[in-house]
Protein backbone atom coordinates (compact mmCIF):
# COMPACT_ATOMS: atom_id res chain seq x y z
CA UNK A 1 0.00 0.00 0.00
CA UNK A 2 1.16 3.49 -0.80
CA UNK A 3 0.42 5.40 2.39
CA UNK A 4 1.13 8.85 0.98
CA UNK A 5 -1.31 8.50 -1.87
CA UNK A 6 -3.86 6.83 0.39
CA UNK A 7 -3.76 9.97 2.49
CA UNK A 8 -3.91 12.13 -0.64
CA UNK A 9 -6.92 10.15 -1.82
CA UNK A 10 -8.57 10.45 1.60
CA UNK A 11 -8.12 14.23 1.55
CA UNK A 12 -9.65 14.53 -1.91
CA UNK A 13 -12.55 12.21 -1.05
CA UNK A 14 -13.28 14.18 2.11
CA UNK A 15 -13.28 17.52 0.30
CA UNK A 16 -15.12 16.22 -2.78
CA UNK A 17 -17.83 14.34 -0.86
CA UNK A 18 -18.20 17.13 1.69
CA UNK A 19 -18.76 19.83 -0.90
CA UNK A 20 -20.74 17.48 -3.16
CA UNK A 21 -23.20 16.36 -0.48
CA UNK A 22 -23.58 19.93 0.67
CA UNK A 23 -24.34 21.09 -2.91
CA UNK A 24 -26.99 18.43 -3.44
CA UNK A 25 -28.76 18.71 -0.10
CA UNK A 26 -28.53 22.37 0.84
CA UNK A 27 -28.70 24.04 -2.57
CA UNK A 28 -30.74 24.13 -5.69
CA UNK A 29 -28.73 22.35 -8.37
CA UNK A 30 -30.92 23.43 -11.29
CA UNK A 31 -30.34 22.48 -14.89
CA UNK A 32 -27.75 23.32 -17.54
CA UNK A 33 -30.04 26.07 -18.84
CA UNK A 34 -30.81 27.60 -15.48
CA UNK A 35 -27.91 26.69 -13.25
CA UNK A 36 -28.69 26.83 -9.57
CA UNK A 37 -26.14 27.71 -6.90
CA UNK A 38 -25.28 24.03 -6.52
CA UNK A 39 -24.63 23.19 -10.18
CA UNK A 40 -21.01 24.23 -10.68
CA UNK A 41 -19.86 23.17 -7.18
CA UNK A 42 -21.42 19.76 -7.79
CA UNK A 43 -19.47 19.29 -11.03
CA UNK A 44 -16.25 20.27 -9.28
CA UNK A 45 -16.99 17.98 -6.34
CA UNK A 46 -17.53 15.09 -8.72
CA UNK A 47 -14.17 15.78 -10.41
CA UNK A 48 -12.39 15.91 -7.05
CA UNK A 49 -14.11 12.76 -5.78
CA UNK A 50 -13.37 10.78 -8.94
CA UNK A 51 -9.69 11.79 -8.90
CA UNK A 52 -9.56 10.90 -5.19
CA UNK A 53 -11.00 7.48 -5.95
CA UNK A 54 -8.60 6.85 -8.85
CA UNK A 55 -5.58 7.81 -6.75
CA UNK A 56 -6.91 5.67 -3.89
CA UNK A 57 -7.37 2.55 -6.03
CA UNK A 58 -3.89 2.97 -7.48
CA UNK A 59 -2.42 3.49 -4.02
CA UNK A 60 -3.97 0.23 -2.78
CA UNK A 61 -2.05 -1.69 -5.42
CA UNK A 62 1.29 0.09 -5.07
CA UNK A 63 3.76 -0.40 -2.31
CA UNK A 64 5.67 2.66 -1.38
CA UNK A 65 7.29 3.67 1.87
CA UNK A 66 6.24 7.04 3.22
CA UNK A 67 8.60 8.74 5.62
CA UNK A 68 8.01 12.43 5.13
CA UNK A 69 10.21 14.96 6.80
CA UNK A 70 7.78 16.81 9.01
CA UNK A 71 8.40 19.95 10.99
CA UNK A 72 8.66 19.31 14.75
CA UNK A 73 5.31 19.31 16.55
CA UNK A 74 6.47 22.27 18.57
CA UNK A 75 6.98 24.37 15.44
CA UNK A 76 3.65 23.26 13.98
CA UNK A 77 1.76 24.18 17.12
CA UNK A 78 3.56 27.48 17.66
CA UNK A 79 3.05 28.70 14.10
CA UNK A 80 -0.62 27.75 13.90
CA UNK A 81 -1.39 29.19 17.32
CA UNK A 82 0.30 32.52 16.50
CA UNK A 83 -2.31 33.99 14.10
CA UNK A 84 -5.15 32.50 16.16
CA UNK A 85 -3.80 34.26 19.25
CA UNK A 86 -3.74 37.50 17.29
CA UNK A 87 -7.36 37.02 16.27
CA UNK A 88 -8.48 36.22 19.82
CA UNK A 89 -6.74 39.12 21.49
CA UNK A 90 -6.51 42.05 19.06
CA UNK A 91 -9.98 43.34 19.91
CA UNK A 92 -9.86 42.76 23.64
CA UNK A 93 -6.24 43.27 24.63
CA UNK A 94 -5.40 45.70 21.85
CA UNK A 95 -2.72 45.87 19.18
CA UNK A 96 0.45 45.90 21.30
CA UNK A 97 -0.33 42.84 23.45
CA UNK A 98 -1.71 40.97 20.43
CA UNK A 99 1.44 41.52 18.36
CA UNK A 100 3.64 40.62 21.32
CA UNK A 101 1.73 37.38 21.99
CA UNK A 102 1.77 36.41 18.32
CA UNK A 103 5.49 37.04 17.99
CA UNK A 104 6.19 35.25 21.25
CA UNK A 105 4.27 32.21 20.06
CA UNK A 106 6.01 32.20 16.67
CA UNK A 107 9.45 32.78 18.17
CA UNK A 108 9.09 29.80 20.48
CA UNK A 109 8.74 27.53 17.44
CA UNK A 110 12.50 27.12 17.19
CA UNK A 111 13.97 24.64 19.63
CA UNK A 112 16.77 25.45 22.04
CA UNK A 113 16.37 29.22 22.04
CA UNK A 114 17.31 30.97 25.26
CA UNK A 115 14.20 32.59 26.83
CA UNK A 116 16.05 35.89 27.02
CA UNK A 117 16.67 35.87 23.27
CA UNK A 118 13.04 34.98 22.58
CA UNK A 119 11.98 37.93 24.74
CA UNK A 120 14.39 40.23 22.94
CA UNK A 121 13.09 39.13 19.52
CA UNK A 122 9.51 39.64 20.69
CA UNK A 123 10.23 43.11 22.05
CA UNK A 124 12.11 44.17 18.95
CA UNK A 125 9.46 42.98 16.50
CA UNK A 126 6.61 44.46 18.55
CA UNK A 127 8.28 47.86 18.62
CA UNK A 128 9.00 47.59 14.91
CA UNK A 129 5.39 46.69 14.05
CA UNK A 130 4.11 49.51 16.24
CA UNK A 131 6.30 51.95 14.34
CA UNK A 132 5.52 50.64 10.86
CA UNK A 133 1.83 49.78 11.07
CA UNK A 134 0.48 52.20 13.68
CA UNK A 135 2.62 55.30 13.31
CA UNK A 136 3.80 54.75 9.74
CA UNK A 137 0.69 53.42 7.99
CA UNK A 138 -1.94 54.68 10.39
CA UNK A 139 -3.66 51.36 10.95
CA UNK A 140 -6.93 52.07 12.79
CA UNK A 141 -6.52 49.89 15.90
CA UNK A 142 -6.60 50.37 19.64
CA UNK A 143 -3.13 50.00 21.08
CA UNK A 144 -4.40 48.81 24.47
CA UNK A 145 -7.83 47.21 24.48
CA UNK A 146 -10.84 47.33 26.81
CA UNK A 147 -9.96 44.08 28.61
CA UNK A 148 -7.34 46.01 30.55
CA UNK A 149 -10.05 48.33 31.82
CA UNK A 150 -8.66 51.43 30.16
Amino acid sequence: MDIKNMAASGTLLAVGLGFGISSVFTMDVGSALRMGPGYFPLILSIVITVIGAVIGVKALRDTEAFRPQIAPLRALAALIVAPILFGLTVRGFGFIPAVALTTLSAASAAKGQKPLIVMAITLGITVFCLGVFYYGLGLPVRLIGPWFGV
Binding site: A75, I80, P83, T102, G124, L137
Partner: protein, 502 residues
Protein backbone atom coordinates in the same frame (compact mmCIF):
# COMPACT_ATOMS: atom_id res chain seq x y z
CA UNK B 1 4.14 53.27 -33.78
CA UNK B 2 3.43 56.93 -32.98
CA UNK B 3 0.67 55.75 -30.69
CA UNK B 4 3.10 53.52 -28.88
CA UNK B 5 5.52 56.38 -28.28
CA UNK B 6 2.72 58.72 -27.24
CA UNK B 7 1.28 56.16 -24.85
CA UNK B 8 4.66 55.34 -23.36
CA UNK B 9 5.25 59.07 -22.98
CA UNK B 10 2.02 59.41 -21.05
CA UNK B 11 2.99 56.42 -18.94
CA UNK B 12 6.44 57.82 -18.25
CA UNK B 13 5.05 61.16 -17.17
CA UNK B 14 2.73 59.33 -14.77
CA UNK B 15 5.43 57.02 -13.49
CA UNK B 16 8.02 59.77 -13.14
CA UNK B 17 6.18 61.80 -10.52
CA UNK B 18 8.35 61.87 -7.40
CA UNK B 19 5.64 60.13 -5.44
CA UNK B 20 5.40 57.22 -7.86
CA UNK B 21 9.18 56.94 -8.17
CA UNK B 22 9.34 56.73 -4.41
CA UNK B 23 6.85 53.87 -4.27
CA UNK B 24 8.45 52.16 -7.24
CA UNK B 25 11.67 52.32 -5.25
CA UNK B 26 9.99 51.02 -2.09
CA UNK B 27 8.52 48.15 -4.11
CA UNK B 28 11.76 47.13 -5.77
CA UNK B 29 13.61 47.45 -2.46
CA UNK B 30 11.08 45.26 -0.68
CA UNK B 31 11.11 42.86 -3.60
CA UNK B 32 14.89 42.55 -3.51
CA UNK B 33 14.67 42.03 0.22
CA UNK B 34 12.19 39.17 0.05
CA UNK B 35 13.96 37.78 -2.99
CA UNK B 36 17.23 37.64 -1.08
CA UNK B 37 15.67 36.13 2.01
CA UNK B 38 14.74 32.49 1.52
CA UNK B 39 11.50 31.47 3.16
CA UNK B 40 9.45 34.44 2.08
CA UNK B 41 8.50 35.14 -1.49
CA UNK B 42 6.75 37.85 -3.47
CA UNK B 43 3.37 36.09 -3.25
CA UNK B 44 3.22 36.24 0.53
CA UNK B 45 4.69 39.75 0.62
CA UNK B 46 2.22 41.19 -1.85
CA UNK B 47 -0.60 39.41 -0.05
CA UNK B 48 0.44 41.05 3.21
CA UNK B 49 0.80 44.48 1.68
CA UNK B 50 -2.52 44.42 -0.20
CA UNK B 51 -4.49 46.01 2.63
CA UNK B 52 -1.94 48.79 2.97
CA UNK B 53 -2.29 49.77 -0.68
CA UNK B 54 -5.82 50.97 0.06
CA UNK B 55 -4.41 54.27 1.22
CA UNK B 56 -2.50 54.77 -2.07
CA UNK B 57 -3.84 55.81 -5.45
CA UNK B 58 -4.52 52.89 -7.82
CA UNK B 59 -1.50 53.48 -10.06
CA UNK B 60 0.86 54.02 -7.15
CA UNK B 61 -0.23 50.83 -5.46
CA UNK B 62 0.07 48.74 -8.62
CA UNK B 63 3.47 50.26 -9.41
CA UNK B 64 4.70 49.33 -5.95
CA UNK B 65 3.28 45.79 -6.05
CA UNK B 66 4.73 45.20 -9.51
CA UNK B 67 8.10 46.40 -8.19
CA UNK B 68 7.97 43.77 -5.47
CA UNK B 69 7.36 41.09 -8.06
CA UNK B 70 10.21 41.79 -10.45
CA UNK B 71 12.45 42.97 -7.62
CA UNK B 72 12.13 39.52 -6.12
CA UNK B 73 13.39 38.00 -9.37
CA UNK B 74 16.56 40.07 -9.02
CA UNK B 75 17.03 39.39 -5.34
CA UNK B 76 16.45 35.68 -5.82
CA UNK B 77 19.41 35.43 -8.13
CA UNK B 78 21.72 37.11 -5.61
CA UNK B 79 21.05 34.36 -3.07
CA UNK B 80 21.31 31.72 -5.77
CA UNK B 81 24.79 32.94 -6.75
CA UNK B 82 26.17 33.63 -3.30
CA UNK B 83 24.86 30.72 -1.24
CA UNK B 84 23.53 28.29 -3.82
CA UNK B 85 20.04 28.70 -2.42
CA UNK B 86 17.60 30.17 -4.91
CA UNK B 87 15.48 32.77 -3.15
CA UNK B 88 12.87 32.31 -5.88
CA UNK B 89 12.05 29.15 -7.79
CA UNK B 90 12.73 30.90 -11.10
CA UNK B 91 16.35 31.55 -10.13
CA UNK B 92 17.01 27.88 -9.41
CA UNK B 93 18.84 27.61 -12.73
CA UNK B 94 21.02 30.60 -11.92
CA UNK B 95 22.40 28.70 -8.96
CA UNK B 96 23.85 26.00 -11.25
CA UNK B 97 26.55 28.14 -12.82
CA UNK B 98 26.35 31.28 -10.69
CA UNK B 99 27.35 29.50 -7.51
CA UNK B 100 30.24 27.79 -9.30
CA UNK B 101 31.44 31.19 -10.50
CA UNK B 102 31.23 32.51 -6.94
CA UNK B 103 33.31 29.58 -5.68
CA UNK B 104 35.94 30.38 -8.29
CA UNK B 105 36.13 33.92 -6.95
CA UNK B 106 34.06 35.36 -9.77
CA UNK B 107 30.99 36.28 -7.71
CA UNK B 108 31.29 39.90 -8.93
CA UNK B 109 30.99 39.14 -12.65
CA UNK B 110 28.25 36.58 -11.94
CA UNK B 111 26.17 39.16 -10.08
CA UNK B 112 26.86 41.74 -12.75
CA UNK B 113 25.90 39.29 -15.50
CA UNK B 114 22.63 38.55 -13.67
CA UNK B 115 21.79 42.21 -13.10
CA UNK B 116 22.81 43.51 -16.51
CA UNK B 117 21.11 40.80 -18.52
CA UNK B 118 18.01 41.19 -16.36
CA UNK B 119 18.03 44.90 -17.06
CA UNK B 120 18.48 44.30 -20.77
CA UNK B 121 15.61 41.80 -20.75
CA UNK B 122 13.47 44.14 -18.68
CA UNK B 123 13.93 46.96 -21.16
CA UNK B 124 12.98 44.84 -24.16
CA UNK B 125 10.10 43.16 -22.33
CA UNK B 126 8.65 46.55 -21.37
CA UNK B 127 8.49 47.44 -25.05
CA UNK B 128 6.95 44.04 -25.84
CA UNK B 129 4.25 44.60 -23.24
CA UNK B 130 3.60 48.12 -24.55
CA UNK B 131 3.38 46.90 -28.15
CA UNK B 132 1.26 43.80 -27.53
CA UNK B 133 -1.15 45.08 -24.93
CA UNK B 134 -3.29 47.42 -27.09
CA UNK B 135 -4.01 45.01 -29.97
CA UNK B 136 -4.79 42.22 -27.51
CA UNK B 137 -7.05 44.57 -25.62
CA UNK B 138 -9.06 45.38 -28.72
CA UNK B 139 -9.49 41.66 -29.43
CA UNK B 140 -10.47 41.08 -25.82
CA UNK B 141 -13.17 43.75 -25.99
CA UNK B 142 -15.02 41.54 -28.46
CA UNK B 143 -14.99 38.65 -26.00
CA UNK B 144 -18.30 37.31 -24.76
CA UNK B 145 -18.91 34.87 -21.94
CA UNK B 146 -18.06 31.71 -23.93
CA UNK B 147 -14.70 33.24 -24.93
CA UNK B 148 -13.88 34.26 -21.37
CA UNK B 149 -14.80 30.80 -20.20
CA UNK B 150 -12.54 29.25 -22.83
CA UNK B 151 -9.70 31.55 -21.94
CA UNK B 152 -9.86 30.77 -18.24
CA UNK B 153 -10.03 27.05 -18.92
CA UNK B 154 -6.92 27.43 -21.08
CA UNK B 155 -5.18 29.34 -18.29
CA UNK B 156 -6.00 26.64 -15.77
CA UNK B 157 -4.94 23.91 -18.19
CA UNK B 158 -1.60 25.64 -18.71
CA UNK B 159 -1.07 25.95 -14.97
CA UNK B 160 -1.70 22.21 -14.71
CA UNK B 161 0.91 21.37 -17.35
CA UNK B 162 3.49 23.70 -15.88
CA UNK B 163 3.08 22.50 -12.31
CA UNK B 164 5.37 19.88 -10.89
CA UNK B 165 4.30 16.34 -10.10
CA UNK B 166 1.22 14.31 -10.94
CA UNK B 167 -1.15 15.82 -13.51
CA UNK B 168 -4.13 14.16 -11.84
CA UNK B 169 -3.27 15.69 -8.48
CA UNK B 170 -2.86 19.11 -10.04
CA UNK B 171 -6.29 18.89 -11.68
CA UNK B 172 -7.69 18.02 -8.28
CA UNK B 173 -5.90 21.05 -6.80
CA UNK B 174 -7.35 23.39 -9.41
CA UNK B 175 -10.85 22.01 -8.83
CA UNK B 176 -10.41 22.35 -5.09
CA UNK B 177 -9.30 25.95 -5.53
CA UNK B 178 -12.32 26.65 -7.74
CA UNK B 179 -14.75 25.21 -5.24
CA UNK B 180 -13.14 27.08 -2.33
CA UNK B 181 -13.53 30.21 -4.42
CA UNK B 182 -17.29 29.63 -4.53
CA UNK B 183 -17.73 29.73 -0.75
CA UNK B 184 -20.01 32.60 0.22
CA UNK B 185 -23.10 34.24 -1.21
CA UNK B 186 -24.10 33.14 -4.71
CA UNK B 187 -24.38 36.41 -6.62
CA UNK B 188 -27.18 35.18 -8.88
CA UNK B 189 -29.59 33.86 -6.29
CA UNK B 190 -28.29 35.20 -3.01
CA UNK B 191 -28.12 31.68 -1.62
CA UNK B 192 -25.45 30.92 0.99
CA UNK B 193 -22.95 28.31 -0.11
CA UNK B 194 -20.70 26.26 2.17
CA UNK B 195 -20.69 28.98 4.84
CA UNK B 196 -21.35 26.47 7.67
CA UNK B 197 -23.67 29.05 9.14
CA UNK B 198 -20.85 31.50 9.78
CA UNK B 199 -21.86 35.05 8.81
CA UNK B 200 -18.14 35.90 8.33
CA UNK B 201 -18.09 33.56 5.34
CA UNK B 202 -20.94 35.31 3.53
CA UNK B 203 -18.40 37.31 1.50
CA UNK B 204 -16.37 34.20 0.83
CA UNK B 205 -13.01 33.07 2.11
CA UNK B 206 -10.64 36.02 2.33
CA UNK B 207 -8.16 35.75 -0.52
CA UNK B 208 -5.30 37.34 1.43
CA UNK B 209 -5.83 34.95 4.34
CA UNK B 210 -5.84 31.94 2.02
CA UNK B 211 -2.73 33.13 0.14
CA UNK B 212 -0.75 33.95 3.28
CA UNK B 213 -1.70 30.62 4.82
CA UNK B 214 -0.81 28.57 1.75
CA UNK B 215 2.38 30.40 0.87
CA UNK B 216 3.52 32.08 4.09
CA UNK B 217 2.88 29.71 6.97
CA UNK B 218 3.30 26.52 4.97
CA UNK B 219 6.64 27.80 3.63
CA UNK B 220 7.96 28.67 7.11
CA UNK B 221 6.97 25.20 8.31
CA UNK B 222 8.92 23.64 5.46
CA UNK B 223 11.95 25.71 6.42
CA UNK B 224 11.70 24.71 10.07
CA UNK B 225 11.96 21.01 9.19
CA UNK B 226 15.70 21.31 9.32
CA UNK B 227 17.66 23.79 11.34
CA UNK B 228 18.80 26.15 8.67
CA UNK B 229 22.42 27.07 8.69
CA UNK B 230 23.13 29.56 5.99
CA UNK B 231 26.67 30.44 5.23
CA UNK B 232 27.59 32.76 2.44
CA UNK B 233 30.70 31.61 0.62
CA UNK B 234 31.45 35.19 -0.18
CA UNK B 235 31.75 37.67 2.63
CA UNK B 236 32.82 40.50 0.41
CA UNK B 237 32.31 40.90 -3.27
CA UNK B 238 35.20 42.49 -5.09
CA UNK B 239 35.74 43.17 -8.78
CA UNK B 240 32.13 43.64 -9.75
CA UNK B 241 32.58 44.78 -13.30
CA UNK B 242 32.76 41.97 -15.85
CA UNK B 243 35.68 41.87 -18.25
CA UNK B 244 35.28 42.66 -21.95
CA UNK B 245 35.33 38.94 -22.71
CA UNK B 246 32.59 38.33 -20.14
CA UNK B 247 30.45 41.06 -21.65
CA UNK B 248 30.87 39.59 -25.10
CA UNK B 249 29.91 36.15 -23.84
CA UNK B 250 26.79 37.59 -22.21
CA UNK B 251 25.20 39.42 -25.13
CA UNK B 252 24.02 36.44 -27.18
CA UNK B 253 22.53 34.46 -24.27
CA UNK B 254 20.88 37.57 -22.85
CA UNK B 255 19.25 38.32 -26.18
CA UNK B 256 18.05 34.75 -26.78
CA UNK B 257 16.88 34.51 -23.16
CA UNK B 258 14.85 37.69 -23.58
CA UNK B 259 13.07 36.35 -26.66
CA UNK B 260 12.33 33.00 -25.01
CA UNK B 261 11.24 34.64 -21.77
CA UNK B 262 8.97 37.18 -23.46
CA UNK B 263 7.22 34.44 -25.40
CA UNK B 264 6.84 31.95 -22.54
CA UNK B 265 5.93 34.61 -19.98
CA UNK B 266 2.64 35.33 -21.74
CA UNK B 267 1.57 31.72 -21.15
CA UNK B 268 -0.63 31.46 -18.13
CA UNK B 269 0.66 29.36 -15.29
CA UNK B 270 4.22 30.16 -14.34
CA UNK B 271 6.02 30.98 -17.58
CA UNK B 272 8.99 32.67 -15.90
CA UNK B 273 10.21 29.46 -14.30
CA UNK B 274 9.85 27.49 -17.49
CA UNK B 275 11.59 30.25 -19.44
CA UNK B 276 14.74 30.12 -17.34
CA UNK B 277 14.98 26.36 -17.70
CA UNK B 278 14.37 26.55 -21.43
CA UNK B 279 17.00 29.25 -21.85
CA UNK B 280 19.60 27.23 -19.93
CA UNK B 281 18.90 24.17 -22.05
CA UNK B 282 19.14 26.24 -25.23
CA UNK B 283 22.46 27.87 -24.31
CA UNK B 284 23.94 24.53 -23.37
CA UNK B 285 22.79 23.02 -26.64
CA UNK B 286 24.21 25.71 -28.92
CA UNK B 287 27.40 26.25 -26.94
CA UNK B 288 30.66 25.09 -28.52
CA UNK B 289 31.85 24.10 -25.07
CA UNK B 290 28.81 22.59 -23.32
CA UNK B 291 31.06 20.93 -20.75
CA UNK B 292 31.66 24.32 -19.12
CA UNK B 293 27.98 24.47 -18.10
CA UNK B 294 27.61 23.56 -14.46
CA UNK B 295 31.21 24.59 -13.87
CA UNK B 296 30.78 28.34 -13.91
CA UNK B 297 29.78 29.35 -17.44
CA UNK B 298 28.72 32.98 -17.56
CA UNK B 299 26.30 32.17 -20.40
CA UNK B 300 24.44 29.91 -17.97
CA UNK B 301 23.81 32.90 -15.74
CA UNK B 302 23.07 35.58 -18.34
CA UNK B 303 20.58 33.57 -20.44
CA UNK B 304 18.27 32.24 -17.71
CA UNK B 305 18.37 35.53 -15.81
CA UNK B 306 17.30 37.44 -18.91
CA UNK B 307 14.62 34.83 -19.58
CA UNK B 308 13.07 34.87 -16.12
CA UNK B 309 13.01 38.65 -15.95
CA UNK B 310 11.46 39.00 -19.40
CA UNK B 311 8.95 36.30 -18.47
CA UNK B 312 8.08 38.02 -15.21
CA UNK B 313 7.32 41.16 -17.13
CA UNK B 314 5.32 39.74 -20.02
CA UNK B 315 3.21 37.75 -17.56
CA UNK B 316 1.50 41.09 -16.96
CA UNK B 317 0.02 40.92 -20.48
CA UNK B 318 -2.88 38.52 -19.80
CA UNK B 319 -3.60 40.32 -16.53
CA UNK B 320 -3.63 43.79 -18.07
CA UNK B 321 -5.46 42.98 -21.28
CA UNK B 322 -7.91 40.29 -20.20
CA UNK B 323 -8.08 40.51 -16.47
CA UNK B 324 -7.00 36.88 -16.30
CA UNK B 325 -4.08 36.15 -13.97
CA UNK B 326 -1.13 34.13 -15.31
CA UNK B 327 0.18 33.24 -11.86
CA UNK B 328 -0.65 33.75 -8.18
CA UNK B 329 1.15 37.11 -8.09
CA UNK B 330 -0.97 38.40 -10.96
CA UNK B 331 -4.02 37.10 -9.11
CA UNK B 332 -2.99 39.34 -6.24
CA UNK B 333 -2.56 42.29 -8.59
CA UNK B 334 -6.13 41.73 -9.72
CA UNK B 335 -7.11 41.68 -6.08
CA UNK B 336 -5.36 45.03 -5.65
CA UNK B 337 -7.34 46.49 -8.55
CA UNK B 338 -10.63 45.23 -7.15
CA UNK B 339 -9.81 46.72 -3.75
CA UNK B 340 -9.34 50.04 -5.55
CA UNK B 341 -12.71 49.72 -7.24
CA UNK B 342 -11.32 49.00 -10.70
CA UNK B 343 -12.91 46.15 -12.63
CA UNK B 344 -10.04 44.19 -14.22
CA UNK B 345 -10.38 43.44 -17.90
CA UNK B 346 -9.76 44.89 -21.34
CA UNK B 347 -11.57 48.12 -20.52
CA UNK B 348 -8.80 49.10 -18.08
CA UNK B 349 -6.62 50.27 -20.99
CA UNK B 350 -9.27 52.68 -22.27
CA UNK B 351 -10.88 53.75 -19.02
CA UNK B 352 -7.71 54.03 -16.95
CA UNK B 353 -5.01 54.91 -19.49
CA UNK B 354 -2.81 56.61 -16.90
CA UNK B 355 -2.88 53.56 -14.67
CA UNK B 356 -2.31 51.19 -17.58
CA UNK B 357 0.58 53.00 -19.22
CA UNK B 358 1.99 54.28 -15.95
CA UNK B 359 2.35 50.69 -14.76
CA UNK B 360 4.05 49.62 -17.99
CA UNK B 361 6.46 52.57 -17.95
CA UNK B 362 7.20 52.02 -14.27
CA UNK B 363 8.52 48.56 -15.11
CA UNK B 364 11.40 50.08 -17.00
CA UNK B 365 12.11 52.61 -14.26
CA UNK B 366 11.90 49.79 -11.72
CA UNK B 367 14.45 47.78 -13.67
CA UNK B 368 16.82 50.74 -13.72
CA UNK B 369 16.37 51.20 -9.98
CA UNK B 370 17.10 47.51 -9.51
CA UNK B 371 20.45 47.71 -11.27
CA UNK B 372 21.34 50.62 -9.01
CA UNK B 373 20.08 48.78 -5.94
CA UNK B 374 21.74 45.52 -6.71
CA UNK B 375 25.18 46.30 -7.96
CA UNK B 376 26.61 49.04 -5.73
CA UNK B 377 24.63 47.92 -2.68
CA UNK B 378 25.51 44.27 -3.01
CA UNK B 379 27.47 44.39 0.25
CA UNK B 380 24.29 45.25 2.10
CA UNK B 381 22.44 42.25 0.69
CA UNK B 382 25.32 39.96 1.56
CA UNK B 383 25.13 41.23 5.12
CA UNK B 384 21.39 40.63 5.16
CA UNK B 385 21.96 36.94 4.54
CA UNK B 386 23.48 36.76 8.00
CA UNK B 387 20.19 37.70 9.71
CA UNK B 388 19.24 34.51 11.54
CA UNK B 389 16.05 32.78 10.48
CA UNK B 390 14.92 32.63 14.13
CA UNK B 391 14.46 36.41 14.02
CA UNK B 392 13.06 36.46 10.54
CA UNK B 393 10.14 34.09 10.72
CA UNK B 394 8.48 35.48 13.87
CA UNK B 395 8.62 38.87 12.16
CA UNK B 396 7.05 37.44 8.99
CA UNK B 397 4.30 35.87 11.06
CA UNK B 398 3.60 39.09 12.96
CA UNK B 399 3.45 41.09 9.70
CA UNK B 400 1.21 38.48 8.13
CA UNK B 401 -1.20 38.45 11.05
CA UNK B 402 -1.44 42.25 11.10
CA UNK B 403 -1.80 42.35 7.33
CA UNK B 404 -4.57 39.75 7.17
CA UNK B 405 -6.45 41.40 10.03
CA UNK B 406 -6.27 44.85 8.49
CA UNK B 407 -8.01 43.81 5.23
CA UNK B 408 -11.48 43.77 6.81
CA UNK B 409 -10.69 44.19 10.51
CA UNK B 410 -12.13 40.71 10.76
CA UNK B 411 -10.66 38.31 13.32
CA UNK B 412 -12.21 35.32 11.57
CA UNK B 413 -9.78 35.80 8.67
CA UNK B 414 -6.91 34.95 11.02
CA UNK B 415 -8.45 31.56 11.76
CA UNK B 416 -8.83 31.01 8.01
CA UNK B 417 -5.13 31.87 7.61
CA UNK B 418 -4.11 29.38 10.31
CA UNK B 419 -6.34 26.69 8.83
CA UNK B 420 -4.97 27.15 5.32
CA UNK B 421 -1.44 27.20 6.73
CA UNK B 422 -1.78 23.71 8.16
CA UNK B 423 -3.85 22.49 5.20
CA UNK B 424 -1.27 23.84 2.74
CA UNK B 425 1.55 22.19 4.64
CA UNK B 426 -0.26 18.85 4.69
CA UNK B 427 -0.98 19.15 0.97
CA UNK B 428 2.67 19.81 0.17
CA UNK B 429 3.64 16.68 2.13
CA UNK B 430 1.21 14.71 -0.04
CA UNK B 431 2.82 16.13 -3.20
CA UNK B 432 0.05 18.57 -4.05
CA UNK B 433 1.08 21.92 -5.54
CA UNK B 434 -0.48 24.97 -3.89
CA UNK B 435 0.00 27.44 -6.78
CA UNK B 436 -2.66 25.99 -9.15
CA UNK B 437 -5.06 25.89 -6.23
CA UNK B 438 -4.68 29.62 -5.61
CA UNK B 439 -5.18 30.31 -9.31
CA UNK B 440 -8.38 28.25 -9.18
CA UNK B 441 -9.47 30.08 -6.06
CA UNK B 442 -9.28 33.43 -7.84
CA UNK B 443 -10.90 32.23 -11.03
CA UNK B 444 -13.69 30.21 -9.38
CA UNK B 445 -16.41 32.88 -9.20
CA UNK B 446 -15.46 34.33 -12.63
CA UNK B 447 -15.47 30.94 -14.30
CA UNK B 448 -18.86 30.06 -12.86
CA UNK B 449 -20.33 33.44 -13.80
CA UNK B 450 -19.26 33.15 -17.44
CA UNK B 451 -20.34 29.50 -17.64
CA UNK B 452 -23.80 30.44 -16.38
CA UNK B 453 -24.13 33.42 -18.68
CA UNK B 454 -22.98 31.44 -21.70
CA UNK B 455 -25.51 28.71 -20.96
CA UNK B 456 -28.32 31.21 -20.49
CA UNK B 457 -27.50 32.92 -23.81
CA UNK B 458 -27.42 29.60 -25.64
CA UNK B 459 -30.61 28.30 -23.93
CA UNK B 460 -28.73 25.48 -22.25
CA UNK B 461 -27.02 24.30 -25.39
CA UNK B 462 -23.44 23.31 -24.55
CA UNK B 463 -22.40 23.51 -28.21
CA UNK B 464 -22.14 27.30 -27.83
CA UNK B 465 -18.55 26.79 -26.69
CA UNK B 466 -17.67 24.99 -29.90
CA UNK B 467 -19.59 26.95 -32.53
CA UNK B 468 -18.03 30.32 -31.68
CA UNK B 469 -14.60 30.32 -33.31
CA UNK B 470 -12.55 32.00 -30.56
CA UNK B 471 -13.92 29.97 -27.67
CA UNK B 472 -13.71 26.79 -29.77
CA UNK B 473 -10.07 27.61 -30.54
CA UNK B 474 -9.20 28.35 -26.92
CA UNK B 475 -10.89 25.21 -25.63
CA UNK B 476 -9.25 23.08 -28.31
CA UNK B 477 -5.84 24.37 -27.29
CA UNK B 478 -6.72 23.70 -23.65
CA UNK B 479 -7.66 20.10 -24.47
CA UNK B 480 -4.48 19.61 -26.51
CA UNK B 481 -2.43 21.05 -23.67
CA UNK B 482 -4.00 18.61 -21.22
CA UNK B 483 -3.56 15.63 -23.54
CA UNK B 484 0.08 16.57 -23.99
CA UNK B 485 0.53 16.69 -20.23
CA UNK B 486 -0.75 13.12 -19.94
CA UNK B 487 1.51 11.71 -22.66
CA UNK B 488 4.06 9.55 -20.86
CA UNK B 489 6.93 10.93 -22.88
CA UNK B 490 6.19 14.53 -21.99
CA UNK B 491 5.35 13.63 -18.41
CA UNK B 492 8.85 12.24 -18.02
CA UNK B 493 10.42 15.29 -19.63
CA UNK B 494 8.38 17.50 -17.34
CA UNK B 495 9.82 15.77 -14.31
CA UNK B 496 13.31 16.19 -15.69
CA UNK B 497 12.80 19.89 -16.19
CA UNK B 498 11.59 20.40 -12.67
CA UNK B 499 13.80 17.94 -10.89
CA UNK B 500 16.66 20.40 -10.57
CA UNK B 501 14.44 22.75 -8.65
CA UNK B 502 14.73 20.84 -5.40
Amino acid sequence: MMDLIGNLGMGLSAALTPYNILFCFVGTLLGTLVGVLPGIGPTATIAMLLPITLSLSPETSLIMLAGIYYGAQYGGSTTAILINLPGESSSAVTALDGYQMARQGRAGPALAAAALSSFFAGTIATIVVAALAPPLTSIALKFGSPEYFGLMVLGLAASIVLARGSVLKTIAMVSMGLVFGLVGTDINTGAMRFTLGRPELADGLNFVAVAVGLFGIAEILRNLETTMERTAVVKRVAGLWPSRADLKAMIGPAFRGTVLGSALGVLPGGGAILASFASYALEKKISKTPERFGNGAIEGVAGPEAANNAGAQTSFIPMLTLGVPANPVMALMIGAMIIQGIVPGPQVATEQPVLFWGLIASMWIGNLLLVILNLPLIGLWVKLLTVPYTVLFPAILAFASIGVYSVNSNTFDLYVMAAFGIFGYALSKLDFEPAPMLLGFVLGPLLEEHLRRAMTISHGDISVFFTRPISAGLLTVAVIVLIVAFLPNIARRRNEVFVEED
